[in-house]
């Protein structure tokens, strides 16, 4: 499952597969997720939501609800105080806080079915439900629009009368649903197309899809009489929840303590707030703790998803297959408020390839859908679907092997990306070659079967992180992480600390701290935790080692330069001293005599994150009479730098591939003619189940460890969702005999294309 590059022999822990420190809690039911907290006197909160896709709120009458015995608080948008708003950095995007507040509780207008308009806290779930019915909201229903192309068309209902397209000069005089136009490019695109020997083009669409985490959003908020409050919640960032909640309720940060619960999946969807400010506003009104938990229907209606898109693409190439120019227009749904990841779509679209002439235009378009949230490599999978489909077209036209064509055009270190970064430490070509050499790529296909190949890119980020390493009195160590552990990061944190300290992994434990117990950290997102927080862990461990060496030198009365630290033991290299080696345990045991407790905390802003590249191969077949697709074999390869815990890295590749397969085949938001979501359930929002998938083989390419990380790690979590859309679609297109351009490739769509029936 690895490319054969063994980690350096000096590494004892990194690269092994120990059991995660929080494992037993997770398999015994002991782990506490967002909805598992219970406080004395706790009330049940519920949220009243819009039944309309688009409406003006004429009046909200909460008086009857407030009078209902057992109802302790009712809040509306008027209870929020976001003031001037401003932005808060949320990892891969900046969140406009006025919009986040208006998304938590509507102000003036509702922009989608399920938009929150009021909330109650009551002594029982039954009373809370009754109270919702007692809140009377008078709406003036407005025309709605849910399709991205329709939302851009002249005459479309305009959601925000103060939205004048940014990025256009002069500033438009009329409000529209286009929040922003992004333009990027280089070279002489028109000239390159004029000189092109081959041109391929197409129009592609993808449906809005949800992150689909199994744990619905949940929190408990408790306001204190002194104004200090505590929030327990499952999120991808306790500091982000604190910042957003404080801003929306106009409170000082230090008065809010956010305790991260275990998080039941996020995939980007838990990098914002929906419930926490509302729960705290309710708690502030009645002085009792309030629990708010979304139902699955609420999760679909009012959280996530990511953008549906429509895209036009043209590629120019030589007859040898060198891509000389590309032109692409991307239109992404933002949902109710500005902020689709279309800029990231533009940036990533051709990031795998060295294309001299590029012209990219992206439109960020609002419509009457829930505001999009980050979803694993936000913006990249849709763009890659179009690009990798077009490249597949090119390969077919030129009768070239799709991997050879990609190798020919692959970026190499030193190349400039369209967004200005220089490619460094990349192993894209090595990844393509690893796939080509894999038995899967050489395996014969059966009759009626086809194979699809596609690549994908993600930036991966670094950024602000904090971590502490505490040496325990018995010589073990505790790592304090600042990031919610969404997929096993406590294991990799503990492993990197153990490696650095020279301890066996069993002697290192890891915990995730609340906002008062560790320095600030950005969210768990952007594939940054193993890289950035890992760097903080290693630096803290290195500080501890330096301290241990100092203490050994002090004990031996020798120069610290003569103290070697290896495998958790200090050895005196000064031949004039007759000093017995001192183990960590020995040093920890007498720490009081050598300067007190041994611990270090590091806060840093990690630079040098390396991008990741993935290549996926998918074999499938189609029932020609029903159009149903069966995935037969799947292999995901990725440039991972160095895998700290290979099993969890493989898991990222497998999970991303599965989500991508769902995106390609069945997942979609289905709206009816009233702009209401028709499939807000797991029954009809069809995510892959165990019997839908084969084993997912992985190739971890460790050809280029990231030299900017102490153990060579690159982010791995997001890349794997980028290639599958086109890998699946390319295989289906091969069987159907025509380019399939619209996701999801549901049985009906495929059968129609096959002319079946």
């Amino acid at each position: 499952m690895s490319d054969g590059n063994q980690p350096p022999a000096s590494l004892k822990v990194v690269g092994t597969r120990p059991i995660r420190p929080d494992g037993v809690d997770k398999v015994t039911g002991r782990a506490q997720f967002g909805a598992d907290f219970h406080l004395p006197g706790m009330l049940t909160g519920r949220i009243k939501r819009s039944p309309h896709a688009h409406a003006r709120i004429v009046k909200i009458d909460i008086s009857a609800a407030e009078k209902r015995p057992g109802v302790k608080a009712v809040v509306t948008g008027a209870d929020l105080d976001v003031g001037a708003g401003g932005d808060i950095e949320a990892g891969e995007h900046a969140a406009a806080m006025k919009d986040v507040a208006a998304n938590c509780l509507a102000s003036g207008k509702v922009f989608y079915q399920g938009h929150a308009v009021a909330a109650v806290a009551a002594t029982s779930p039954e009373i809370a439900a009754e109270a919702l019915d007692l809140i009377e909201v008078t709406y003036e229903v407005l025309p709605h629009v849910v399709d991205v192309d329709e939302a851009m068309a002249p005459g479309a209902p305009v959601l925000h009368d103060d939205m004048f397209t940014k990025g256009v000069t002069p500033k438009p005089t009329k409000a529209s649903n286009v929040a922003q136009k992004h333009v990027m490019g280089r070279g002489d695109v028109a000239g390159a197309f004029a000189a092109a020997e081959v041109v391929v083009e197409g129009r592609y669409t993808t449906a809005a899809v949800h992150q689909g985490y199994i744990e619905p959003h949940a929190c408990v908020a408790a306001w204190g009489a002194d104004g200090q409050s505590t929030i327990w919640c499952s999120s991808q960032g306790q500091f982000l929840v604190r910042a957003m909640t404080a801003r929306i309720l106009n409170l000082p940060l230090s008065d809010i303590k956010v305790i991260p619960a275990e998080i039941g999946g996020g995939f980007g969807g838990k990098t914002t707030v929906y419930l926490e400010p509302v729960a705290l506003a309710l708690s502030r009104k009645c002085g009792r703790p309030v629990k708010l938990v979304m139902s699955r229907e609420e999760v679909f209606l009012a959280s996530g998803p990511t953008s549906g898109s429509s895209m036009d693409i043209r590629l120019a190439a030589t007859k040898d297959g060198k891509i000389t120019a590309a032109e692409m227009t991307l239109r992404y749904q933002a949902g109710a408020f500005a902020g689709s990841p279309v800029n990231l779509g533009c940036m990533t679209a051709f990031a795998c390839y060295d294309v001299e002439n590029l012209a990219l235009v992206g439109y960020d378009v609002v419509s009457n859908r829930p505001k999009v949230a980050a979803y694993r490599a936000p913006g990249a999978p849709m763009a890659a679907f179009a690009v990798e489909s077009a490249i597949d077209d090119l390969a077919r036209k030129l009768k070239m092997d799709p991997i050879d064509l990609r190798i020919l055009n692959a970026v190499k270190d030193g190349a400039k990306t369209v967004y200005g970064a220089t490619v460094r430490y990349s192993a894209f070509i090595e990844t393509l070659e690893a796939v080509k050499a894999h038995p899967h790529y050489k395996a014969k296909l059966g009759p009626g079967q086809a194979r699809g190949v596609a690549a994908g890119f993600w930036f991966n980020i670094g950024g602000e992180s904090s971590a502490a390493v505490h040496v325990d009195e018995d010589g073990g160590a505790t790592v304090v992480s600042s990031n919610p552990d969404i997929g096993g990061s406590r294991a990799s944190m503990a492993m990197m600390a153990a490696e650095t300290l020279g301890l066996p992994i069993e002697r290192v434990r890891c915990t995730v701290a609340d906002t008062t117990s560790i320095g600030f950290s950005g969210s768990t997102g952007g594939s940054r935790v193993t890289f950035a927080t890992g760097m903080a862990v290693v630096e803290a461990a290195q500080k501890v080692v330096a301290d241990l060496r100092r203490r050994a030198a002090q004990t031996w009365e020798c120069d610290i330069a003569h103290v070697e630290w290896k495998d958790g033991v200090a050895t005196c290299l000064d031949p004039s001293k007759d000093a017995k080696p001192l183990s960590l345990k020995a040093l920890a045991g007498k720490s009081a005599k050598t300067g007190g407790p041994i611990a270090a905390e590091v806060s840093l802003n990690a630079q040098g994150a390396a991008a990741g590249y993935g290549v996926h191969v998918c074999d499938l077949e189609i029932d020609p009479e029903t159009g149903r697709t069966t995935i037969l074999r799947y292999t995901a390869a990725q440039d991972v730098g160095r895998a700290i815990h290979p099993a969890y890295v493989e898991g990222q590749l497998q999970g991303g591939a599965a989500q991508g397969v769902g995106w390609a085949l069945n997942e979609e938001y289905v709206y009816n003619s009233n702009g209401l979501l028709d499939n807000a359930s797991f029954l009809d929002y069809r995510m892959p189940v165990a019997s839908d998938l084969p084993m997912i083989d992985t190739i971890l390419v460790e050809a280029k460890p990231n030299p900017r990380h102490p153990y060579g790690a690159k982010g791995v979590g997001e890349v794997p969702i980028v290639p599958p859309l086109a890998a699946v679609a390319n295989a289906i297109s091969a069987i159907v005999g025509q380019r399939m351009t619209s996701l999801p490739l549901s049985p009906a769509k495929v059968l129609a294309a096959m002319g079946g029936g």
Binding site: G23, R296, A690
Partner: protein, 162 residues
């Protein structure tokens, strides 16, 4: 709202709790008995995160009324380990890294236990179809299926050595 007293055996222990007529077994387990290991992912029987075993049958606790539990034997994730000793399924899930966020894990483990109680030597296809009601969004199921197959082998071995 009238509530009735329900007597059941949960993880081998007799329990008594009050249940509303429309309350789900899941809510009773979580809110009355504070057994929060069973999770609610959907409340409509579509995700399996609340899987428990009732009188030997695997069910979604969200699709059973709490008063129906009267006189029943209920097994939840909290009872899977035996006096602190992990069940082979729990052990193999950890060994294989068959969980990432861990939210669906209790349900997957209970569903897998119900499978292995019936079929000690399932094929990969049997495992996949049996577990189709347990959605996992993190793992892509690969490691989950391997863990269940290996736990089955462990249990067969254990059976032989007994």
């Amino acid at each position: 709202m009238s509530r009735t007293v329900v007597n059941a055996v949960v993880n081998g222990e007799p329990v008594e709790f009050l249940a509303g007529g429309g309350q789900s077994l899941l809510d009773a387990l979580r809110d009355e008995l504070r057994l929060t290991g069973s999770k609610e992912g959907c409340g409509t029987g579509d995700c399996g995160a609340c899987s428990v075993i009732v009188d030997g049958r695997l069910v979604c606790a969200c699709l059973m009324l709490a008063p129906e539990a009267e006189g029943k034997r209920i097994e939840t994730i909290e009872g899977l380990a035996d006096n602190g000793h992990l069940h082979p399924l729990q052990h193999q899930f950890l060994e294989h890294a068959a969980l990432q966020c861990g939210f669906c894990t209790p349900g997957l483990l209970m569903a897998s236990k119900a499978l292995l109680d019936r079929n000690p030597d399932p094929t990969e296809t049997e495992v996949r179809y049996w577990l189709a009601g347990n959605i996992c969004r993190c793992t892509g199921y690969d490691k989950v299926v391997r863990a269940v197959m290996d736990a089955a082998a462990d249990l067969r071995q254990e059976g032989k050595s007994k």
